[in-house]
């Protein structure tokens, strides 16, 4: 398949990183699409959890919010929100926490709180929601975002959620026992942290994307792994599944859902 968008490639690359045994804490937007594509292709038994309390959801269309009725109707069970954060997230049962970011630094630290000073922000963003504890309590963290110089910055304005801090063993120094960000999937590349420094390195470049484009849309000095592959392009099955899911979603939310990119919590 050669006829696909960078966003589709991003979603499909993220979907591939999930396995049948994963228990995913899902954010809205790209993470939700990726998790559901995984469920509809190679990982039919993956467990999807939304922070509204729905456990084991299998929506036929993508939700607009983390609390859509569809998520509850298709869930194995729905629990109260305090239980969700205590037994399921803090209890260490989540294998993958999926996060988006307004600002991301090369060590996987995320800002969704403010642009500018906290007390007098230039832009007041929505805040962390579940992210601070998703980042510390999930077994590992996957991040997806479209690349931009405003989004991928050397220094974030606020540490909404902690990735690898200043890198190296900074997580362990803070007493955090989980792995933190292990994967960053953008619309141009797949990145993984360097095993020592924990700084993100490009591991594979999506078909059609270039090193120049990656550099132009990232405000930090991009590092590359020793061997950099091309991301395998979407298969017909992957792309078909994603597009059918989006078509079903658009039909279900007909006329009411022209914009769905934002994360809410």
């Amino acid at each position: 398949m050669s006829d696909f968008t960078p966003n589709e490639m991003m979603t499909i690359a993220a979907a591939r990183a999930l396995s049948n045994d994963d228990v995913c804490f899902v954010g809205i937007g790209a993470p939700s699409a990726a998790c559901n594509v995984a469920r509809l292709t190679h990982a039919p038994d993956i467990t999807l959890i939304y922070e509204s309390g729905t456990i084991g959801t299998a929506p036929t269309v993508l939700p607009l919010s983390i609390g859509d009725g569809e998520l509850c109707e298709t869930a194995l069970t729905t629990v109260a929100v305090p239980e969700m954060f205590r037994y399921w997230l803090q209890g260490g049962r989540i294998t993958i926490g999926f996060l988006g970011a307004a600002q991301l630094d090369p060590f996987g630290n995320i800002n969704t709180t403010v642009i500018g000073d906290y007390a007098h922000p230039k832009t007041r963003l929505p805040g962390g929601g579940g992210a601070p504890e998703i980042a510390s309590s999930s077994g590992e963290v996957f991040i997806t975002m479209a690349q931009s110089k405003r989004g991928m910055v050397k220094d974030i304005d606020f540490y909404t959620s902690f990735g690898h801090g200043r890198g190296g063993i900074h997580r362990q120094e803070l007493g955090i026992t989980t792995k933190g960000p292990t994967l960053l999937i953008t619309d141009l590349a797949v990145w993984r942290p360097n095993p020592e420094t924990k700084e993100f390195e490009v591991n594979s470049i999506h078909p059609g994307a270039t090193r120049e484009e990656i550099a132009r849309t990232c405000d930090w000095d991009v590092k590359y792994a020793a061997s950099v592959d091309e991301t395998p392009p979407p298969t017909a099955e992957e792309l078909g599944t994603l597009r059918e899911l989006k078509a079903r979603t658009d039909a279900a939310h007909a006329g009411t859902a022209s914009k769905r990119g934002s994360k809410d919590g």
Partner: protein
Amino acid sequence: MAKFQSLSEAVAENLKDGDSVAFEGFTHLIPHASAHEAVRQGRRDLTLIRMTPDVVYDQLIGMGMVKKLVFSYAGNPGVGLLRRLRDAVENQWPRPLKVEEHSHAAMANAYEAGAAGLPCAVFRGYKGAGLKDVNPNIRSVTCPFTGEELAAVPAIRPDVAFIHAQKADRKGNVLIEGIVGVQKEAVLAARRSVVTVEEIVESFEGVHPNACILPHWTITSVVHVPGGAHPSYAQGYYPRDNAAYLEWDKIASDRDAFQSWMRENVLEVGPEIFATRVAPLKEAAQ
């Protein structure tokens, strides 16, 4: 003991200027009708509490009724940022807004602690997170067995909690189903509580033995307001009005547009309007 009242009576008796108040709902069952009644009654200087302030909190903030917001995620779900909230925080319009910001885990635990009568909630959280440095209500305790430092936040104890639920029975017991959020905790944590419901039924005979039910003696006031969650939804009654959430983004982008919308759609109408708003949604869902 729950009183059955009109919405204007329930709000007048239970919400005072200067109160801390939670209109809780986690995407589902957001008590819009109650909040609109508070707008009509012109309450001032409120401290609003909610995990996920969205459109309805944008409205209260934009009307200048709010001095402080305690929250963990402020956004228009599936759409974007809250423009009236941003205007208040960034430009102090129509008045400055203090914020006390937490994570979801902290807020959920703080409601739980409030319901449990504890002074604080203890959990594992905020590790490496920046909110610790800007919110003096994030502290810590040390586990006396392992020495682990755990996060602590004060319990949430609102003066009054408003929630919307599917059903009350004749005694005023309340049934909440589906995405139940933190509504039970909000009611149990609050000094007073008002519950609007879609329907009043004879009894809960036949309901699952472990359903989420608030006994009538935990509730101050029960009000029958069909559609009272609109544009949020009530599982089993009507779906979410996604178009209204999208529309809000435009309305809230302009101060004048916002004010005339509030006049036409809140100040000059009453709670009966909610049933008519959900009627086409109910029909479309059939």
